[in-house]
Amino acid sequence: MKYIEWRDELEYYLGALEKTERDRILAYYSEMYADRRDGGLTEEEAVEQFGAPYDAARKILDGEGVPCGGGDKETHGAQGSGDGGITEVTFCSDAPVDAIDIDGTLGNIYVKFYDGDRVEVKYPADTMLRYSVVQQGGSIKITHKKVKFKNFSFKKKLIPDMTIYLPRELVCDLMIQLSAGGIWLEGGNYGNITAAIDAGTMTTGDITCSDMRISNDAGKTELGSILCHRLCADADAGKLTARGICGSTADITINAGMADVKRVDCKRAKITVSAGKAAIELCGAKEDYDANVITTLSSCNLQNRAAGSERSIAVEARLGTCSVTFTDE
């Protein structure tokens, strides 16, 4: 193994540490490496004497008193043995958490609730694409690391699946950004949710939150019942299905590729169809709403209505069709 590869792996396993501390450790090893080379060892020999990057990181993390961040719970297989055994890395929060911020490229992200009292993040260690998980104050930041394709191996899984376990009583903000992949949010209480995928799948259970912003440019989005103050759902050219959006004071903004949204109970609804089709079912009677409809080259089954009502609906349909129906509930 080349030293630079060894060092990269070490850095990866030290992901739970602050960057300044990580850099300090890497500088320490680089000095050790240079001294070994000066002492007459070859690169191969020098690296071999360091042992597996995982074991080195483990010793350092133990010495730092880091509980279990960057380590794993399974027994760790021999480094680079190619036995295909994917070991799991578990990151544990060591301070109260109020936000989780994920900036990823590919992969599936699952958010679940469990009976523990710390936020845990689990992901496989031995994948081509890797996560870095660090806690900065109350925020857990999860980012993807650059992929080095010179190390490409078919024995390694390309994309890691990540599972985030939240304590049941925790209410935290969630920010997820993915280029492609999937986001699964288990039903429960959240703070503000911002979830964006360029092209992927997003599925949520029954969620209670303050603000929810969802965008899925070209994928499939399925939302269970949502109780929120504001919902902004953007499915440019994707498909959005939602059942039961509630919050009598809520603002709902839907931008559709194809939207099928039933049982929306809100004060203000704004629906824009740029090039798709939207079918929206609003709670209450048609007479309860102020309607403001703009159609360009498309159609909408709703007519403009005079102001004076508590509730309002604004529809702008450019190239698609929009149908709005009402249920007396």
């Binding site: 001294d35 042992g51 010495g63």
Partner: protein, 103 residues
């Protein structure tokens, strides 16, 4: 070796390795070779702990066109090494009483 005992022994060894003057990571490991096998991954937390406790001070200096981190004992470090010596003398006396006479 029990982790608590090991911690004390290792700290004492590193303090000892620096008692003859400033040194650096690779040299400390090599100087201790005849006494105890210690890897750089074990050494790092010890150095960090000793530095945090004020037992040693560190500085970087140019060597061969690169930076090398040097460590040297402070007054606290010297005192600590002396304390270890006294402590170990007590431990050895106990050890002899428990295990020594049975042999």
């Amino acid at each position: 070796m029990d982790i608590q005992i090991k911690k004390g022994v290792l700290d004492a060894c590193v303090l000892y390795a620096l008692s003859g003057g400033e040194s650096y990571g690779y040299k400390i490991i090599n100087d201790l070779k005849g006494i105890i096998e210690i890897s750089e991954s074990t050494l790092y937390p010890i150095l960090k702990r000793l530095e945090a406790g004020g037992a040693l001070e560190t500085y970087s200096r140019q060597f061969n066109g690169r930076l090398r981190r040097y460590y040297s004992l402070t007054e606290t470090g010297r005192r600590k090494l002396a304390e270890y010596r006294d402590d170990f003398e007590g431990v050895i006396a106990i050890y002899k009483k428990i295990f020594g006479e049975k042999r």
